[in-house]
């Protein structure tokens, strides 16, 4: 269901202001979405003054600095800090991305950081992705092959292997799915770009024997065709992949098979 405005309990209030204590002349204001599950208060935006003279280049560095030096209560996911694990996916400056690869110099003015859009918030910048993981599970993201090869390798031609380029690199950070308006309004039924790109990754794999069944499963008005090529997914992908194209390829396969 399309719901433009936020429900009552999600309306954002003005939060606390953390003034700089270092006396630095190079200050940036960072506005961060906060919500504490242990209270019954609405989410709020806290503003932090951050000393940029002693801060490395990425948005994640700012968050680490705030957590270490200003306010240890702030919660966010992070792990590898090198754009590989996908944990620190969030909405920065109005666009989804990985905090560890997003340079704060690219952002003009105050830095606004929100959780990934249209998710149930667990705490601060942490959104609940369990629906997305369930959907990922539903496409059976593993190779289905009945050949008994023993110890031999399951070989693939160079051309067939090349078909997986631009698909296998996906780290499932959910930047694309949570940037998609269709996924916002129909996230319970529509699979969303991340899961559909993964579905295509197995459909197009020459070693997989379940192509027909996989195609039949995604060929659904809501699961697949809620994609209206808005292109927010491709705009958001921090790995430079193209989920919109993958979805179009599935549609094309269905139309021509």
């Amino acid at each position: 269901m399309v719901q433009i405005s936020l429900p009552k309990n999600s309306k954002i209030q003005k939060g606390k202001y953390f003034k700089d204590k270092t006396g630095s002349k190079n200050i940036r204001k960072v506005n961060i979405y906060r919500w504490d599950p242990s209270t019954s208060e609405n989410p709020r935006i806290d503003t932090y003054e951050v000393d940029m003279d002693n801060c490395p280049s990425k948005v994640l560095d700012i968050l680490n600095k705030i957590k270490n030096e200003i306010d240890p209560t702030i919660a966010y996911r992070r792990s590898c800090a090198h754009g590989v694990c996908g944990s620190c996916a969030m909405n920065m400056d109005g666009k989804n991305g990985l905090a560890c690869t997003k340079s704060h110099a690219e952002i003009k003015g105050e830095i606004n950081i929100y959780p990934l859009p249209h998710l149930k918030v667990l705490k601060d910048l942490i959104g609940d992705l369990s629906t997305l993981y369930k959907q990922y599970d539903s496409i059976k993201p593993w190779l289905k092959n009945s050949k008994n090869l023993g110890d031999a390798e399951n070989l693939q031609s160079k051309e067939d292997r090349a078909k997986l380029d631009g698909l296998y690199e996906c780290i499932m950070c959910a930047c694309c799915s949570t940037s998609c308006p269709s996924y916002w309004w129909n996230g319970d039924k529509y699979l969303g770009p991340a899961v559909l790109l993964q579905a295509y990754r197995w459909i197009i794999d020459s070693r997989d024997e379940d192509r027909k069944e996989r195609l039949k499963k995604v060929a659904d008005e809501l699961k697949l065709y809620r994609c209206h090529t808005i292109m927010n997914c491709t705009n958001a992908c921090p790995k430079g992949l193209n989920p919109a194209k993958a979805i179009a390829s599935i549609k094309k396969m269905l139309a021509t098979s």
Binding site: S10, P37, G94, D128, P181, A248
Partner: protein
Amino acid sequence: MKNDNPISPHIQVYNWHISSLVSISHRITGVINYLLLIFTCFWVISLTFGSESYQYFKIFSESIVGKFFVIGFIWSYIFQILSEIRHWFWDMGYGFELRTTKITGVVVILGSFILTIVLYLFSGVVI
């Protein structure tokens, strides 16, 4: 999980891109065009009943409100057609690169305005 967890802000904070702007406009003009079919019906009816009845339509279309209506009508149709052509290419699997979508998006937006002006001026000459 508790059901009273808040929902993170979405459309309130997400930046507009050219592609998303064209996409929502495609939808809106689609609905407008559908409703404007009624207007087209009146136009055709007024024609079939001869010049006298067409005078009413002419008076309306030459008033300020009418002009706004007609120009809006032309723009809405042209936008829909151009955007639909973009969708055809997508359906065939072309034009998904980010740069291409940006360029084609701008072409649709600018093209719709330019063609509207051209068509309106041209129709003025004909009528």
